[in-house]
Structures are given as C-alpha cells and as structure tokens.
C-alpha cells in the first residue's frame, strides 16, 4: 500500500530553494556554484554549457503530447545529458494563462512527466531528473497573445 507518508511540520530546507528558480531568475544561479579552485571553475563552465544545450520544449494548447520539434530537442537534450552525467535537471511543467489555474497545475505536471519519460527512455537515469508543475503561475512571457502563450506552454529545464 502506498500509505507511507512524509508528514513534516512546516520547514524551509535550504537545498530546496534552488529548484524553485524559474526561467526568469536562473541567470543569477551561476554565482551559487562559483568558488575558488579549478574544479569548481570547470563545474561552473559545465553548468553554463548545460544551460545552453539543454533547452526547453514547447506544447500545443491543452496538450501534454510531444510535438516533432519537442522530440528532436529532447533527443539533443538526452544526448548531452548522457555525455555529462554529473548534471541533473529539474523539469518544470508550465502552462499558458488560458483555462483554469487548478487544471493547469495538473496539465503542467503531465508536460513535465511526459518530458521526463522521454529522456528516461533515451537513457538518462531517472534519478537525475526531477519534475515539478507551476501550472500557469510562472509565465515566461506575461503577454496575452498566442505568441506569448506559445512560449509559456513549456517544459523548462533547470540544470544543476
């Protein structure tokens, strides 16, 4: 039975805060990893590369199906992740503002999970991939046009 529960009193864990960053504030993330020494310098360079190479994928309205563009991008992401096994990723599922926010939390999770499943089938260890859904709460583009919406219907990678 799946009745095993983790019920903790409200607590803020320091390590959890990084994964809450979204597309809009990941630029500042590199500082967190910078410290003296050549190992950390190369780790920092690898993270920079990860951010360039592991790109977001986008979805149709009210859909968590992977389109052909998304599939080819995920193949690239998988290839890079398979060559750089020290990097792990938080996959954030996001939605556009249309529809109702509760349903969009579910839809965002479907997008993140579909994305993760594809990568796992392509050989990336599931333990390196976490998922979270923000529904429509963290739009990349706050506009109200299809151009903005299409950018917001995404699975966003936060590498670490």
């Amino acid at each position: 039975m799946l009745l095993c529960w983790v019920i903790a009193a409200f607590s803020v864990s320091g390590c959890g805060s990084k994964s809450s960053e979204t597309a809009l504030d990941t630029d500042s993330g590199s500082e967190q990893y910078a410290s003296s020494g050549s190992d950390s310098a190369s780790a920092s360079a690898l993270l920079e590369e990860a951010r360039r190479m592991v790109k977001d994928v986008f979805f149709q309205y009210d859909s968590a199906e992977l389109e052909s563009d998304a599939v080819s991008q995920l193949k690239n992401n998988a290839e890079w992740l398979n060559q750089n096994r020290t990097i792990s990723a938080m996959i954030e599922g996001h939605c556009d503002e249309r529809g109702t926010s509760e349903y969009n939390i579910a839809l965002g999770e479907k997008r993140a999970e579909t994305t993760k499943s594809f990568l796992v089938r392509a050989g990336v260890a599931a333990s390196r991939l976490e998922t979270v859904s923000f529904g429509e709460e963290r739009p990349f583009d706050s506009g109200h046009t299809e151009a903005a919406w299409s950018k917001n219907r995404r699975a966003h990678f936060v590498v670490k």
Binding site: L2, L3, W5, V6, I7, A8, A9, F10, S11, V12, S13, G16, S17, K18, S19, S20, E21, D62, R98, G99, T100, S101, E102, Y103, I105, A106, L107, E109, K110, V132, S133, F134, E137
Partner: protein, 441 residues
C-alpha cells in the same frame, strides 16, 4: 413549519405580551409569502429602515455607525429594497421607547413598504443597548422585537446580529453575517492567502510563504484551512488550524491540487500524483489518507461535496477534455454532469441544495459561470461577456456566489446572487483570486 422566530438563543430578547398571544402561524404565513416573492426573483422585500433613535446627542455618532452597518449589511444580501423613510413615521407615544411609540402604518403603506424596522439606541458606559422592532407594514403586526447589547467599539458586530435575525425572519435560515471568505491575494508578484469578512471587510493575511500559496479551502466549522504552497519550490498541501495556529504539511511526491472539505466530517479531498497519475484522495486533517476515490487514466481534480457529504462533484479529463462528473461515495458510481463545451471545470456544490456552480471556457477564451442541478437539469448561465469569471464559491446559506472576475482588467473578487443578479465587486485593494466562502462561525 418551524417558526422562524425560534433560534434566538444567544442574546437576551423581549417579547411583547400582544406578540406572545398571537398565533405563530400568522407570522409563518407572511414569511412564506415573502420567501415566495424573493425566490421568484421578481421582487425584493420593500423595507423602510428607520435610523435608530438616540435620546442623548453624545450617542449620535454610535447611531450613525450602526445605521451604516445595518443598511450596508441588508443591502448586501440582495433580499431587500430599502425605501426612504416617510417623514411622519412615528406619530406619537414615547419616541425613545420601542413598543410605546406609535408607528404610522398608513404612511408606510403610502411609500410602498411591506416591512418596517427601526429601534432605539442607548449607551450605558462602554455598552450599547439597541432595542429593535420589526413590523409588517401592511397589517401593523409586530414580527420581532429584540434587545441587542454590545461593545460600543464594535458597532459592526452589533449591527450584524440584527441583520442576521432579520434575514432569518424572512428566509428561515442563518444568514451570511459572521461568515468569512478566504482567498488568494497577489501583491508584488507573490500570492498569499488572506481572510476577510463576507463583504471584504477587515482582511488579514493567513500565509507568509514569500512566494506562492493557492486554493484555500475552509472547513465547515471555519477552524481549518487547507491550501497549497510552493515553500520549498515544490507544491505541498498544508492544513492549518486557524485557532491553534498549527500547520500540517503533506510533502508527498508530486502535485497536490485544490483541496475541499467534505461536509459533515473533518476530512478533505484533494488530488495527489504520487502514484504516477493525478487522482483524488480522501485525507484526514492529520494529513493521512483515508482512501483513494478516483481510478482512471485522466486528470482528476477539484472535488466539491454535496451538503450531506455523500456525493462528490469533480473534474476529470478521462474522456479527453476536462468535464464535471459526480461520484456517489457510497457505491463508487460515477456519472458525467456536463456535456456542453470542451472545458468545464471548478465545480462548487451548494451547501444547502443540489445546485452545482462551475465554469465553462467559451470558444472566444472567455470563462463564464454556470449553475446546473446535480441531475443535469436546469443549466443556467450567470455571467456574460465579462472576460474571465472563475472559481465560484457559495455563501453558507446558498443565496450568493463569490467568484473572481477580470472584467475590470485585474482579477478581483465579486459577489452575485445565486441567480446571477446583483454582480458587484468586493472592492478589495490589489488582485485576488480563488475565493472560498466559509460556513458559519
């Protein structure tokens, strides 16, 4: 029919001799008649509300405060048409003593009043004594007389106790006075949960997550608040005891969506996805699972329970697009409720009958609120061409619905009567969404 005059238990009240000798059925008849008129939606009860009389000029400020509270409170219910008082309303007797002053009933009839309410206010130290009388203006019968006492610093609750009794007199049910609304307020890009009175008065923050808190759900006793937070960058379900200030966090893997309390129990239902799919579970306030309620490949979310807690309306994408379904929790039988449109979500079951409010996304992207009977009959649209109207939640007496609307640009809370009339803003500052109207306090 139970006499609507019975449930006056908390406050001292006085019955006049003549009133006590009258057969109570007379009141019952007249009350039933008013309810019939109101339900038909054709008319409101024409009421003359006389400003409370005060003998000492030093007490006039309290009278002014009380008058405003009572007038705003009664106007909010949408039950009354408040008429201007005729000039010569008190035609003799002792002005500052209810029961000993002569009400000019012909004058009331001449302005179209069916009910008259007024009273006398006296201050004794820090306490206000408000002696109120309510008459049937057509027959001159006394419907209610009652003495209210309260702190002079709290004219709002004093006035609302009278409003509550007046509404009970005509509907036979408890009123919205004393109820609370929990909602999400967005400030500086952050969403936190707030609590305010039914009319938006006296809002206070409940959460301080510093980021994102969503979908507050108040238990029927008003003591527990369940909601989602993203405190650790992931969605958690939190159940807060509002009086003890203790919080239980459910941090299980995956999403948690849109909790709702089950009437008649201290259990809530919410969506979890730790099992790999998004399913609705029944959960204790300790956070432990009672049982899983849904089992299918689609998304299942947004539970809302029938008044007796036996049935649950919810949203499912099991047939593709999101639609509202109803489950019998005793048998597990599920039937689909909505068929029109491709996007029906956010069901809210009335706390008093089998009406379910929900939202439909129209082809042009606007979202409108509808109500339908639990058997699928009586579909009625309540909002029209007003952008996004979302997250309906019923008042505890089932006469009103609070919802969010972007009709004026930013998302704000609005209230309407259950038939869609009288839509107006709660006039809260900033942006609000996802309101949840409490049961009684």
């Amino acid at each position: 029919m139970k006499s609507p005059l019975m449930p006056f238990s908390k406050i001292v009240f006085i019955l006049l001799c003549c009133f006590a000798l009258m057969p109570s059925t007379l009141f019952g008849e007249s009350v039933k008649e008013y309810v019939k008129i109101t339900k038909a939606g054709a008319d409101r009860i024409p009421l003359v509300l006389r400003s409370v009389d005060v003998e000492g000029s030093k007490d006039a400020q309290y009278a002014k405060g009380i008058d405003k509270v009572i007038k705003n409170g009664l106007a909010f219910t949408g039950l009354f048409a408040i008429l201007n008082s005729p000039m010569n309303l008190i035609s003799g007797g002792e002005l500052y003593q209810t029961g000993k002053r002569q009400i000019n009933f012909p004058a009331l009839s001449s302005v179209g009043a069916e009910v008259y309410a007024g009273g006398v206010l006296k201050r004794k130290g820090k306490t206000l004594h408000m002696d109120m009388e309510v008459y049937d203006a057509l027959t001159g019968k006394l419907l209610m007389r009652k003495l209210y006492e309260g702190n002079r610093e709290d004219t709002r609750s004093l006035g609302h106790r009278f409003c509550d009794d007046l509404v009970r007199l005509f509907t036979g049910k408890p009123s919205i006075f004393g109820s609370k609304i929990a909602y999400v307020s967005r400030r500086n890009g952050k969403k936190e949960i707030y609590l305010a009175d039914y009319d938006g008065y006296g809002e206070v923050p409940v959460t301080s997550t510093g980021g994102l808190a969503l979908t507050p759900a108040l238990s029927s006793d008003g003591r527990q608040l369940a909601y989602l937070t993203y405190t650790r960058g992931r969605p958690d379900l939190q159940i807060k005891d509002l009086s003890r200030k203790t919080v239980v966090s459910v941090t299980r893997k995956g999403v948690k969506i849109d909790p709702a309390w089950r009437n008649g129990s201290m259990e809530l239902a919410t969506t979890f996805s730790f099992d790999g799919n998004q399913e609705i579970y029944l959960v204790r306030k300790s956070g432990s699972i009672v049982r899983r309620l849904t089992r299918d490949r689609g998304i299942d979310l947004s539970p809302s329970f029938s008044p007796d807690g036996r049935y649950m309306s919810f949203v499912s994408s099991r047939h593709g697009s999101p639609q509202v379904f109803i489950m019998d929790l005793n048998s597990g039988t599920t039937k689909r409720l909505t068929f029109d449109g491709k996007y029906n979500t956010q069901p809210a079951w009335s706390p008093v009958n089998d009406k379910i409010a929900f939202t439909t996304m129209q082809k042009n992207g606007e979202i409108d609120i509808f109500i339908v009977n639990a058997d699928g009959t009586g579909l009625k649209q309540l909002t029209y061409r007003a952008r996004q109207n979302e997250a309906p939640s019923w008042s505890p007496d089932g006469t009103m619905i609070v919802f969010s609307s972007s009709r004026g640009g930013a998302s704000k809370l609005y209230v309407m009567n259950a038939d869609g009339r009288n839509q107006r803003s709660l006039k809260l500052a900033g942006e609000q969404m996802q309101p949840c109207w409490s049961s009684f306090r």
